[in-house]
Amino acid sequence: MSSIAPTRLSYRAVQQIWGALFVLPVLLLFLVFRLYPMFLAVQISFQKYDLLTPPRWVGLDNYAFIFSNERVLNSFKVTGIFIVGQTVPLVLCALGLAVVLFTLPRFRHVFELTFYFPVIMTAVVAALIWLTLFYPRGLFDQIVAPWFPLGVPWLTSPVLALPSVIAVDLWKSTGYYMIILLAGLLSIPGEYLEAATIDGAGYWSRVRHILLPLLRPQLAFVAVIALINTVQAFDSFYVLTRGGPGDATRVLPIEIYLRAFQVLEMGRAAAVSMAMFVVLVVLSLVQLRLFRYEP
């Protein structure tokens, strides 16, 4: 036995070294393109850098700027409104549709496919199509023509632009969250529902007292993912409004992109992105708390 032990050990060691080697490519990619940029972002947020002249340390100037500049503060406000205006209806619609599909005795799969179809479309392509629908005297204007004969400024009114983008994003992404919630519903043991039905529980009370409590982990997951995706939403804004009219839809990702790559204020853009990151982490933790989520 003792003569075998050393060779066995080294064999196991070789084996584990192979195992560690297997993770190396992904680890290296993540170190270079995720962790290192993260540290760089912190560093750049304390610098003035315009790509043309060498970066210069400016201490907290960038942070002082972003918390006093009206344009940046407006972006925080717009993102705040967008988060609430988007995630709440998104989660509610996804939940409602998931419960409705769960109710169906037949053809559930067909509706899964039609609701999921917008999810797989390229965001830019989807936004282009909606742009033509929102076009002056386009399809939507013609639909509302009996009430608004002059047309509706869907994307050109500061009041309507954000709700219009929200509508596009709801159409585009509800299906994804619906599928996750539906999978959660389908994993609930059928006996619970059968027992409740035999006890005479009505449709709503079965939804409220059995499905919703058992669905809480998936709801928490969906709420957090919806938040993360909403905060980062960029493509549809870029195509539909590019932050306009005025700054009415200038959400943080648009603000960061335009500041970094149009006016070349890398430091200030990095500072905004750091603030956005902190907001995102805090909001996610609050949400997990709210749903009493235990991973």
Binding site: W18, M121, W171, Q232, A260, F261, M276, F277
Partner: protein, 291 residues
């Protein structure tokens, strides 16, 4: 079996008159059919409008169907460099689909089936990047890629997206379901570790790999922000960049042709979706079953 997995409308079999239950289901299906029509309407509009002559795209009142199909709308964009954009998108998507199959499955195998120091730390590090917004790493990643001299190149477009968090996580979860006995048996037979991975483990991962492939492909094909940042030469544009270029820049776009491009750009994912519906739906569901 399938009965247990639904939420019947009726209180119980005898609880309510059958008529009301039928009416309830009827209303439900009518609502869902209407909603489905709304979900598909934009693409249907794009499909018919892509064949319209330019003045008919925004005609009042609306023409649902083109008076005479303009097939040239599908031809003209190719002379405006959209051929090149499609080639670029295809190259990027092909590499970014194949690479996670290898890299993420290797990483997932390592994280699920081996015991070496630091393994948990590596896993939590990779997982934690889900929380990291693209915008935080956007500026610095651009600077890194610029430093490497990869601006306006396939390398710049492709390399930062060679592996994904979702892919690594998905493969790791799936690896747990593979019995370690197969791996151990191969070791006793004297197979080397890379051989075990390639000949034993990888073939058993086929369901997870197909899910990963379709998600990597659609993710890459649809990506916009990173290409927007890293490309400013016409010949390196991907399809979404080409579309945005033709909408913006103050020019008046030809919407018929743009919508034809929109249809063509949707075609690859549409075909994939039609062929692998189950994998799409299951893959999306899987991303929520992290527990």
């Amino acid at each position: 079996m399938s009965r247990a997995a639904t939420l019947a409308l009726a209180r119980s079999e005898s609880g309510r008159p059958r008529v009301w239950r039928a009416v309830g289901y009827g209303l439900l299906y009518a609502f869902l059919v209407g909603l489905s029509a709304f979900m598909l309407l934009p693409f249907a509009f794009a499909l018919t409008s892509s064949l319209k002559p330019e003045p008919e795209v925004f005609a009042v009142p609306i023409n649902w169907l083109p008076s005479e199909p303009q097939w040239q709308n599908y031809v003209a964009p190719w002379s405006k460099n959209f051929g090149r954009y499609f080639v670029n998108s295809t190259v990027v998507a092909a590499v970014q689909t194949l690479s996670p199959l290898i890299l993420c499955s290797l990483a997932g195998y390592s994280l699920a089936k081996f015991r070496y120091p630091g393994r948990q730390l590596v896993f939590f590090f990779i997982l934690s990047t889900i929380m990291l917004p693209t915008q935080v790493t956007l500026v610095p990643t651009f600077l890194i890629v610029k430093q490497l001299g990869w601006v306006n190149s396939y390398l710049g477009l492709i390399v930062p997206g060679l592996a994904t968090t979702f892919g690594t996580f998905l493969m790791r979860q799936f690896m747990f379901s593979i019995p370690s006995e197969y791996v151990d048996a191969a070791r006793i037979d004297g197979a080397s570790e890379p051989r075990i991975y390639w000949n034993i483990v990888l073939p058993m991962c086929r369901p997870a790999l197909s899910a990963l492939a379709i998600f990597s492909f659609t993710g890459s094909w649809n990506s916009f922000l990173w290409p927007l940042v890293i490309v400013n030469q016409d010949e390196m544009r991907t399809v979404p960049l080409g579309i945005v270029f033709y909408i913006g820049e103050g020019r008046v776009p030809e919407y018929g042709q743009l919508l034809a491009v929109a249809v063509l750009a949707t075609l690859p994912v549409l075909v994939l979706f039609a062929a692998m519906q189950r994998e799409f739906i299951r893959g999306a569901a899987m991303s929520g079953l992290k527990g």
